[in-house]
């Protein structure tokens, strides 16, 4: 299938929209009618053709516009992309991982031709045709991690592994749920998760770290996470919170369906072969409440999850003030009938 790439914005006039195809394949994150933290990891194996779980790095109709948005954010704030000096090799590992996966899984969009260490990379949607020497930084216009992540949807945290811990020593972060790479770079797994309420006491991070430290090459894992965003804003960074925070005001029963978006992160985890680093892509999918409730099962379930969510989580996720309105609006679409297990729409 050839993808029709949207021409859309994720700021200002917010022309972002999902096609019917994108709505149908949206990674709805709730497999039951309630939500609590869990490690919820599963193997990142190809699953359900057409779904966001089919390919190693999902490419969808938002690709080209998301990459433009990333370039815009980086021009305003170059500190969104940082790599400590010992992480360059991991950046090359990531170049190889992404180029090989995309060329193999989307041959109509991407090509990789290798002649020893001389590589030619063709990215048709972005109009890139570059030849470079693998492992020679001077042959690329950016450092290797920055080069490839300017061409790949999702944020990337590249984690060094030492002292039985993971260290956030490199990253490309322009579509984040309110955390700062510039502040967190160099932190270990427990430090950068420090502000998350409840999960430490529940032992979530100890178990998650144990799992992640043992991820092997060729055995990637994945999980979903979620939050809420008013307007389809990819860059909900703390750096710009003084600009976007105010958007949370002014929701009404009339405009909430259009403005309020469920924000889902498809998080994947790959071991990198030369550096033994772990790369942690965090891919953001947005869907408006209006589009979400076109799937009756999702509408009923989202109503119940938001209504019953513990107050601490609604506060941490930043929508405690708007929760009553969300619940009231969503309740129109919940007739109380049971929902089936799992995340997929019923008509499938």
């Amino acid at each position: 299938m050839t993808i029709q790439f949207n021409d859309e914005t994720f700021y200002g006039d917010f022309t972002f929209k999902n096609s019917d195809w994108a709505i149908k394949r949206f990674p709805f994150p709730f497999h039951e009618d309630s939500y609590m933290y869990s490690v919820n990891m599963e193997p990142h194996k190809s699953y359900r053709p057409g779904s966001v779980f089919e390919r190693t790095f999902d490419v969808d109709e938002h690709y080209v516009s998301e990459m433009k948005d990333r370039a815009r954010v980086l021009a305003n704030d170059p500190l969104r992309c940082q790599s400590l000096p010992h992480m360059t090799l991991a950046g090359w590992d990531l170049v190889e991982l992404i180029m090989e996966a995309k060329a193999a899984e989307y041959p109509d969009l991407f090509e990789l031709h290798k002649d020893g260490n001389r590589w030619r990379w063709v990215n048709k949607p972005l109009g890139i045709d570059d030849t470079f020497t693998f492992l020679d930084e001077s042959t690329l216009p950016y450092g290797p991690m920055e080069y490839i992540t300017r061409q790949t949807q999702g944020d990337f945290a590249v984690l060094d592994q030492r002292d039985d811990n993971l260290w956030m020593d490199a990253g490309m972060v322009t579509t984040q749920a309110d955390w700062s790479l510039d502040f967190d770079i160099g932190m270990n797994f427990f430090e950068w998760h420090a502000p998350v309420p409840k999960a430490h006491e529940m032992g979530i991070f100890v178990r998650a770290l144990k799992f992640l430290l043992n991820i092997q090459q060729g055995q990637p894992a994945r999980r979903l996470n979620w939050t809420m965003t008013v307007n389809p804003l990819l860059d909900t960074s703390p750096e710009n919170y003084h600009k976007w925070g105010v958007m949370k005001q002014g929701l009404t029963m009339e405009n909430i369906g259009e403005k309020q978006h469920l924000r889902v992160e498809l998080q994947t985890f790959f071991r990198l072969p030369r550096s033994n680093a772990l790369v942690f892509p965090i891919r953001c999918y947005l869907i408006s409440f209006n589009d979400l409730v076109t799937v009756p099962k999702w509408a009923r379930r989202l109503h119940r999850v938001i209504r019953d969510l513990p107050e601490e989580l609604a506060t941490y996720k930043g929508f405690i003030d708007n929760r009553p309105l969300m619940v009231e609006w969503l309740s129109q679409f919940d007739d109380g009938t049971p929902t089936s297990d799992g995340i997929w729409p019923d008509d499938d």
């Binding site: 427990f190 003084h242 949370k248």
Partner: protein
């Protein structure tokens, strides 16, 4: 007594111990204000030959001469008192660069001093197992504004005004060792102008 019991906090917030004299090829001691008390306490248990190998870098801040003569009287091989951390920074870097294998590093006083000196020591390759810390004196915080990235020293209230961009920021416990700073975030971002009254949280 200037010791502070910090309430339990999140996992990025540093915790501090008590200085003890250890055996080592050298002893680099960096302290500010009431941090001098930790060094003076340590002196009670240090061996006689400890001080010849010691280098004390001290920033009295508002304590003036209250501790400096006592510190000087310890007889350290090198003793320096300076007007500010910034003024002492090049000396601190040089002292860390000159450290030999087995040098012990002792940091005491405010979180700002310990955090900055810790970052310097780590960057200089001193193993964390050779660095001790002890908090004394002011609990004022060194804050980074997440918006403009400017650092405001000696923050005692929540919220406070960023000394660079002027936004009113609330004080988080989230702490970066690389920046040696806590994070400040605009308090009225969602409701501009609605700034809560300042509370003195730190002294």
């Amino acid at each position: 007594m200037s010791k502070t019991e910090f309430p339990p906090s999140i996992t990025s917030r540093p915790v501090y111990g008590e200085l003890e004299a250890r055996s080592g090829s050298g002893h680099l001691m960096i302290a500010d204000a009431e941090g001098a008390e930790a060094i003076l306490d340590l002196a009670n248990s240090a061996d006689a030959d400890f001080w010849a190998k010691a280098h004390i870098i001290y920033i009295p801040k508002k304590t003036g001469t209250k501790y400096s003569s006592q510190l000087e009287a310890l007889g350290a091989g090198k003793y320096y008192a300076g007007p500010s951390y910034e003024a002492a920074q090049s000396r601190i870097r040089r002292a860390l660069q000159d450290c030999h294998m087995g040098t012990q590093v002792y940091l005491s006083g405010t979180e700002s001093l310990m955090g900055q000196a810790m970052a310097e020591a780590t960057a200089a390759g001193i193993p964390h197992t050779a660095i001790q810390t002890e908090h004394r004196g002011s609990t004022a915080r060194r804050m980074q504004c997440v918006h403009c990235k400017g650092i405001t020293e000696d923050v005692t209230t929540d919220p406070f005004e960023c000394s660079h961009c002027g936004l009113s920021l609330f004080v988080r416990d989230h702490y970066s060792r690389r920046l040696a700073a806590f994070q400040g975030v605009r308090v009225d971002a969602e409701d501009p102008g609605n700034i809560p009254e300042k509370v003195e949280l730190f002294k």
